[in-house]
């Protein structure tokens, strides 16, 4: 189910923007129209086609979710693996830093980072990535601790492999599965967070048709023209749901302890 939603989204994200109207084109004469045959999702306060904006927002949200996870997964795995492999003081110091990040409320941390770097989509992605980092770091460390005690690691060390080789060739490949499951679910959270930052004005800047931003713009019309906010809201929900279901499915498929 999740994979099906994601497949449809991927197609929409790739092909959709080529087929719809210009998402930034304003047509004041047609502003605030409810959904109709011409404008399937209606028009917003500047007379822009909401359908075109929601479709054009798909690649932006998907890309921002994936990029954020790439940041969080990359940095988190690095920190976690090193911490787990080294243990001792280095490990404790690294994990203390991670715990510190974890202690900060996610949205506050994201706002601080995004505000520090200046409003914009790249800053929002980086912020969402940093928020995700602790989860990956802890997961990577725990898995590394388990893997490094296996005999194959001793064997590798016995034949003279360097620490770097051991981590890269033997440990990382063996801890990837839980990380992949975690990051699939993480994409949904990251998209939600990037949208939240967009809603607060710290993410994508106009006229970029980013879903969170569209929700924020819809606030003024929540009583008179609710459809302006409903469609981007649905798009966010559906995408996050897709990633969460896919992540669950992946975990079930890969986890031997879950029965079928």
């Amino acid at each position: 189910m999740g994979v099906a939603i994601l497949a449809v989204l991927a197609v929409v994200a790739v092909v959709g923007p080529l087929l719809v109207r210009d998402p930034a084109a304003q047509n004041i004469r047609d502003r605030l129209q409810p959904p109709n045959a011409v404008y399937w999702f209606g028009t917003d306060d500047l007379g822009r086609d909401i359908f075109a904006r929601v479709v054009s927002g798909a690649p932006i949200s998907l890309a921002s979710g994936l990029a954020s996870v790439a940041v969080g997964l990359g940095l988190g795995t690095l920190v976690g693996t090193v911490a787990g492999y080294a243990e001792g003081r280095t490990g404790l110091a690294l994990m203390a830093g991670v715990d510190l990040l974890l202690a900060l409320p996610a949205i506050l941390l994201a706002i601080t980072v995004a505000a520090r770097l200046g409003a914009g989509l790249p800053a929002a992605m980086l912020a969402a990535g940093l928020v995700g980092l602790p989860a990956y770091a802890r997961l990577a460390r725990a898995s590394t601790l388990a893997v490094k005690r296996r005999e194959m690691v001793d064997a590798a060390r016995a034949i003279g492999a360097s620490d770097r080789q051991i981590v890269a060739r033997h440990i990382v490949p063996n801890i990837l599965t839980p990380l992949i499951v975690q990051s699939t679910i993480g994409v949904g959270n990251a998209i939600l967070l990037v949208s939240a930052l967009g809603f607060l004005g710290l993410g994508a800047q106009p006229p970029t048709p980013e879903w969170g931003r569209m929700l924020a713009d819809a606030q003024r019309y929540v009583t008179s023209s609710p459809y302006i906010g409903i469609f981007p809201g649905l798009a966010i929900s559906l995408t996050v749901l897709g990633f969460n279901l896919a992540g669950d499915g992946l975990r079930d498929a890969l986890d031997p302890t879950v029965g079928r």
Partner: protein
Amino acid sequence: MDDRQATALSMLVDDLHARRVGRRAFVSRAAQLGLTVPIASALATAAARAGLAAPAVALQDAGKTLVVAIPQATVQLDPAIAGSNGYGDIIPLADNITEGLTRLIPGTVELEPALAESWEVSEDGLQYVFQIRPDVTFHDGTPVDAAAVETNFLRQFDPEHPLHQETMVYAGIVFADVEAIEATGDMELTVTMTRPTILLPGKLATFAAGIVSPTALEELGAEFGQSPVGTGPFRFESWTQDVELVLTANDDYWGGRPALDRVVWRTIGEDTVRLSELQTGSIDVANQIDFMNAPDIEADPNLQLITGQFLNVQFLAFNEAIPPFDNPTLRQAVQHAINKEAVAEVVAAGNYTLGAGPIAPGLIGYDPALAGRYPYDPAQAQVLIAESGLTDVSFDLLNRSTTFWPLLGQLIQADLSSVGITVNLQSLEDAEFFNRLNSGEVQAFVNDWTWDNGDPDNVMFSLFVHERAMNRMGYNNEQVDELVLEAQVTPDAEAREALYAEAQGLILDDAIMVILGYPERAMGARAPVQNLVVSPVGSVVLREVDIEG
């Protein structure tokens, strides 16, 4: 509920009313006594609004309380400092808690005597002699006399005065061209000018010239802004910051006791929340209703929409000190590229006069013909861009992040994109927005100006001659300066009009800003609220307001 519980509940309501417990604590304790949360919550609202002593006296007439919601936060309540914070401070104060020597007749720009009973100007126009209204006392009982007014003015005018504060930012505007202020009798105050400007009586109606008790100023010092003492129709009762500010009727008001017994001011930033609180009856008046929602109010028999003259101009301003708008041809090109009709639609659902010159409709010097100076003509804009010699023009445009401002930014962005100019929008919180503006490094910004008094000089001087023009727009046109200063000392209305016409013509030639237009203003109120009018200067004056029934 048994007797013991009922007693406990009445005590709890007492506590709530006396602010010994907060609303949240009240609801949770009432719930422990067996009330459901919605009922406890409704009771808290009722108790807070009507000032009930206990549920047993729920039917007793607790007086007329008006709950007014404004979008801006109140920071402090010293009128001399209010200008540095904004309308959240100004609205509860101006002509409600404090009054000046003069005031505007509600809903108009006409001046009338307030704490000055009368005044005279010397023949050379350099001396104003004000007769202070007799038998008026401040809310703390201190009598109002010339010495009290002198203290009020000197603490703003004289930087060496012991009660002076750096944050009295309006002193330079209100007391511009003043040479000396002196109590020349028990009830006579003389103000000597350096130039014979005709603006002083109008400026003394500005919120910042509100007169407060010198006794309280001495006693409270810098804390005065937490519990102001004025002469107005309402006296300060209590204030919980970010929750509510409560005023009560001044029984001894010189103009007669107001009809309302209490006024509760609340800050509700979101337009839609203010509207829904009005619809549910939690508030009686919502200041600044978005015209998008006007039909909802008009369709509701329990509500009324109040509209009226409002002195406000919205503009897109350039900084001619830095590229790209150091190029005058580019500034003119942008003038032709902006579709002001779309602005009118998006900002105020058409309740908007399209921009002409800086002076708003209803004032001397407003000239609708100036709108023809730069008609909407994208083709002409493109010709001018080519003439300017610039290619691939791109700039940062700052806008405030509240209400319609981000939309206005996007409209301009799209209009300019269609003539080949790239606009990078930056939506900023008010404080950050004004910080950046004052840095002088902003290429362009959209903003507005609401008149502080009913004189065209308020915009002409403040925006184009005051150092603000140089700071924010790098603008300095000596001819404009001369004309505006000349108009300040020209009593004859026709001659003034001619001077302003010439000055506005020069400003439009310089194309230093695109005058987008003048929005109207709407308030929403419950149907029984009477005599409430829109103030041209953005205040909410309640002395004549009543609640029917």
